[in-house]
């Protein structure tokens, strides 16, 4: 082995790669509270963000962290926060607040144990809001999604969420860190910079959007109608998904995040053995790629939903699958003994067995 060839790839832990991607995207504020497996992202940014001219705060709790990020974002800076499980639950109030006062920021949800699909897509905040949520299946895609989310946040003036998990956070792989450009963005003519006092043109960031006495705003009724209409429009244009082998598939397996990586691996193997199986993966958890799923399951007699929870995404699959009676749940709750990661269900041989068990006898004919 001669001197190391110039390595085209850099070995990075998923959480660190996400941190670097956020810096590449221009993130200059991050606040977070330690909670496994999200903690390595906080640790990486605590070191790397100040070096990039930004600020990283190891905050006193998740409620303060998300509100620090909201404050930073209201000045026009690209800001982010993150956590998982209970920590994301504590942040719901502020995520809804940011949706309704139109403050862009990115929330990194590096979930643990169960796949918190409901929490990410239904949220627990208040008012008519949704949260654009991208769920990468591996570290390279997480690097792309992180930068895309900062773009979508600014484009739609709304908080967005990266949905990751313990495998994504803790696995190290060789990656390429490249800055991505997603095109032009509207100017931040709403940002607070403290210079408009006394001019009669002073600004406000406020969910009620009452404006100023001299320049009244739409007020809560009209403003929240506009927000609802905004999310309805986002629902149409920001759907993303991926699928393979579905054209002639009589069985389609639906999964998201790291779980989809395993399903992809197993389906490729079953295809090689002659089974007519395909897979479908929502990349955006919200907006859910309903029409694409309907198309992908057109020829399917069996739609197998594989999730690591008691069955959550299956609710959306039921809304859109071509034939609802074909839907079967093959996932389940499966927790690592430490209570910090996935359990034995996330394993290729187990998934293979569950798919085969759902196929008719003698498949392939």
């Amino acid at each position: 082995m001669t001197a190391a060839a110039t390595p085209e790839l850099t070995l990075m832990e998923g959480a660190a790669a996400i941190g670097e991607a956020a810096i590449l995207a221009g993130c200059r504020f991050f606040a977070g509270y330690p909670m496994s497996p999200f903690t390595p992202l906080l640790e990486h940014l605590a070191e790397a963000l100040p070096a990039a001219g930004g600020t990283c705060i190891n905050c006193e709790s998740e409620i303060e962290g998300v509100n620090m990020a909201l404050g930073a974002a209201s000045t026009g800076a690209r800001a982010a926060t993150g956590s998982c499980g209970q920590g994301i639950a504590l942040m719901q109030e502020a995520i809804a607040e940011a949706a309704l006062n139109e403050t862009p920021m990115v929330v990194f949800n590096l979930a643990r144990n169960q796949q918190d699909y409901f929490q990410a897509t239904r949220g627990g905040g208040w008012g008519d809001y949704r949260t654009i949520t991208l769920a990468p299946k591996d570290v390279p895609e997480a690097i792309e999604h992180t930068q895309l989310l900062f773009h979508l946040s600014d484009l739609h003036r709304a908080p967005t969420m990266l949905y990751g998990d313990p495998l994504l956070a803790q696995t190290r792989v060789g990656v390429r860190l490249e800055k991505l450009d997603f095109g032009p963005l509207p100017p931040k003519d709403w940002e607070l910079d403290g210079t408009r006092g006394g001019t009669g043109q002073s600004r406000q960031v406020w969910t009620w959007a009452m404006g100023k006495a001299t320049d009244p705003g739409p007020g809560p009724d009209l403003h929240w109608q506009n927000i609802a209409a905004k999310f309805a429009a986002i629902n149409e244009i920001e759907q993303r998904s991926e699928s393979a082998h579905c054209e002639d598939a009589d069985t389609v397996v639906v999964a998201f995040g790291s779980a989809a990586l395993f399903v992809e691996h197993v389906v490729a193997e079953l295809r090689a053995e002659g089974h007519r199986v395909g897979w479908f993966r929502p990349i955006t958890l919200w907006p859910f790629p309903g029409p694409a799923l309907e198309e992908a399951t057109r020829s399917a007699r069996r739609v197998l939903v594989y999730e690591l929870n008691g069955g959550q995404m299956i609710d959306d699959v039921r809304q859109y699958a071509h034939d609802r009676s074909a839907i079967r749940f093959i996932g389940g709750v499966s927790i690592h003994e430490s209570g910090l990661s996935y359990g034995p269900l996330l394993d290729a041989p187990v998934i293979r067995e569950r798919i085969l068990a759902a196929l008719p006898e003698g498949d392939p004919r």
């Binding site: 509270y33 906080l42 640790e43 605590a46 190891n58 709790s61 209970q86």
Partner: protein, 269 residues
């Protein structure tokens, strides 16, 4: 690591079986149902043991409810033979308030770390104290989030290295530590506040006495009581287990002096 000491020592004494006819003057608490899984040299199991011994000596084991926060000490919930509510991170004093209001005759205590009490739940402990709730809070202070690998907390002392302050806590960047016991001691509604350490045998004995005083204050209805216990976390401090007590004394005890911060006024300490 120990170097081979040069002191001339007597012969090795067998320690496999107990001497016949003698009862031990010190042994494992019967209220421990199993082993904890914490790091070598951790101070938290020592704090747990003297807490359980105090409940036993006060004869209130069947009249006690514990409320445990989130941290390495979470592994005690499984092994302490006491009625326990495992509550959410930082919320123990609030849950303890609800418990004590419903069962005023039951001794109620919280078991929390510095991350739990001084980061996530600072609001809870200050309001519970100011309300004069008749509960006892036990704070295990090791200056790091041990459970997630050693990040900085609100009680990390200036200059201390952690995973989120790798060059040592810098007040200009990370702010100053919060001496929560002193804050609580300044509030009306408080019956007793003490701060002890488990770094030395003498420290363990004095801390155990503080725990007893706190529970006596609670049982006498004198309001909120708090015992802050400095505990070693060699893993989080980037030191070896034997270095834990000395490191703690030189770093934390300088910022958090030991003793009764708020002696009992009504009863006798």
């Amino acid at each position: 690591m120990t170097t081979e000491s040069t002191i001339e020592r007597g012969p090795v004494v067998p320690t496999g079986t107990a001497p016949l006819g003698l009862t031990p003057v010190a042994s494992t608490s019967p209220l421990l149902l199993g082993e904890h899984s914490l790091c070598p040299g951790c101070g938290e199991p020592v704090a747990l043991r003297i807490l359980l011994e105090t409940l036993q000596e006060l004869g209130i084991v069947q009249r006690t409810i514990g409320v445990v926060g989130h941290g390495c000490y979470g592994s005690f919930v499984r092994i302490m033979d006491i009625d326990v509510l495992q509550c959410l991170h930082g919320r123990a004093p609030s849950c303890a308030t609800g418990i004590k209001r419903m069962r005023p005759d039951v001794a109620t205590f919280t078991l929390q770390g510095d991350g739990d009490m001084v980061n996530e739940g600072l609001q809870e402990v200050l309001h519970t104290a100011a309300r004069g709730e008749n509960v006892t809070a036990i704070l295990l202070n090791n200056g790091v989030f041990g459970d997630t690998g050693g990040q900085q907390t609100a009680t990390t002392v200036v200059g201390q290295r952690t995973k989120t302050s790798l060059e040592g806590r810098d007040a200009a960047v990370h702010g100053h530590p919060i001496p929560v016991a002193d804050l609580v001691a300044s509030l009306d509604g408080v019956g007793y506040v003490g701060r002890g350490t488990v770094g030395t045998a003498g420290g363990v004995l004095r801390t155990k006495k503080m725990i007893r005083t706190a529970f006596e204050s609670q049982l006498a209805g004198e309001g909120f009581s708090l015992v802050e216990i400095l505990t070693m976390c060699p893993t989080g401090w980037f030191v070896t287990a034997p270095q834990g007590p000395d490191y703690m004394a030189s770093s934390m005890e300088e910022v958090y002096p030991l003793g009764d911060l708020r002696p009992r006024t009504k009863g006798t300490t």
